[in-house]
Amino acid sequence: MADFLVQLVIAFVKAFLVVNTVLLAAATLVYVERRVAAWIQDRIGPNRVGPFGLLQPFADVIKLYFKEDLVPALADRTYHRLAPLISIAVALSLYAVIPIADSIIVGGERIPISVAPGINVGVLYILAMTSIGVYGIVLAGWASNNKYSLLGGLRSSAQMISYELALGLSIVGVVMVAGTLDLSEIVARQKYVWNIVYQPLGFLLFLIASFAETNRAPFDLPEAEPELVGGYHTEYSGMKFGLFFLAEYSNMVVASLMMVTLFLGGWHVPFIPDLPQWLGLQEGSVGLVLFQAGVTLSKTAVLLFFFIWVRWTVPRFRYDQLMRLGWRVLLPLALLNIVVTGALLLFLGSV
């Protein structure tokens, strides 16, 4: 019983840290997005609130809390309220299995850093949870009782289902190379050679599919503002809208973390994987964990910058182009990737 309680407290502390880090990261990301967008468009961007405008996202959140919470008269109130909750809950629960660093040793006991360690189907969990995230968007579109919201919700469900296939199949290659579905294990095996070397096509497919999964820029059809007003969150105001916003950015962070974990070697330093040892960081020490977290998060930050950079470069796809790309290009390529990976593994024995 006491052991169970200790486990519970440890898990709670980790979850608390992770959720707060994520929310902070999402807030910072909103700021970075606005700033980068401004730079690309020859503007300066938010620079008034706090040093360099860094407190702008907090000002925005406070503003959102003070806004009136409108529900359309003919909306389905229950589902209208439920939809943003589903979105944000799913977005936050995704972090449970992502390993940001290895494990820490406290009092001779090994405590892994991810909230739910040792889940041997971590990859499947991520795929399953992202699928549930669609419900939040579809329900929001349907419950608002607004044609633009409904169209946004429909587009989103079609798009996410189409790209989930390519996304899942592009991971299969990694799983075949690594021989495990446990994310910490996958990272541990990339110490000397990252998976992107074995799976360049898989990485590209995952990158493109995750752009579509997170409803980001060339694939942001669900909220295409010139056509659909605001898409599924047209009828949301105040902090309910804020929750959708937060979920979207949090999903971006998850997608980037997944790419780092699966393809870009997680917490390993590029080219000099033994650097922490040279620096004298002990296995299981706090220093090593912080170092590893730093490496993971820096890689994630680079990918997030890429997400933003692409958004302000590439124009939006047309709906038929989106579907054609998903089903006629990405899906066959993903299948081809699996076949080639399987054949190579078979002929070369193993990696």
Partner: protein, 165 residues
């Protein structure tokens, strides 16, 4: 029959149809754009000084020997937005008419400059003042104390009118 074919295959080369290389090229353009100098003016610190041709809020000219306005009411008559109200009165001075009341409703004013054009005394001119903020409707009605501006501050505009009116 002269049918021109205009298919994607003809318009684009193989590499362009692959799409990804072109995206990378686009990313290069936006990356270069990020480091270009910005044109944004940091407004409250860096203010913009308009030229004489700028039509800011209309003001009444205050000469060395008092206000120029003779309360003829032409500006009020010509104002398309009905923003100006003038009430005349008489004095013992050489210029025997003056406005006891001269009000411009700044919520109505459309900065067209007709009042300035029609004024026979060059008594009402458009200023450079573009910072107009009110907290309620009453304070948006400017009376004589807000409208009268010493002639020294209006030299640019008067010069402009002399040249181009």
């Amino acid at each position: 029959m002269n049918i021109t074919q205009n298919t994607e295959a003809q318009r684009m080369s193989f590499w362009e149809r692959l799409y990804l290389p072109e995206i990378v090229r686009g990313l290069g353009i936006t990356l270069r754009q990020m480091f270009k100098p910005k044109f944004t003016r940091q407004y409250p610190e860096e203010r913009w000084e308009p030229l004489g041709s700028y039509r800011g809020r209309p003001v009444l000219v205050l000469d060395e020997d008092g206000e120029r306005c003779v309360a003829c009411g032409l500006c009020s008559r010509v104002c398309p937005a009905l923003a100006i109200e003038v009430q005349a009165a008489e004095t013992e001075r050489e210029k025997e008419r003056y406005p006891v009341k001269f009000e411009i409703n700044m919520l109505r004013c459309i900065y067209c400059g007709y009042c300035e054009e029609v004024c026979p005394e060059e008594a009402i001119v458009m200023s450079k003042d573009y910072e107009l903020v009110f907290e309620d409707r009453e304070s948006a009605i400017f009376g004589k104390e807000q409208l009268l501006v010493p002639i020294a501050q209006l030299q640019d505009r008067l010069e402009f009118l002399r040249r181009y009116k």
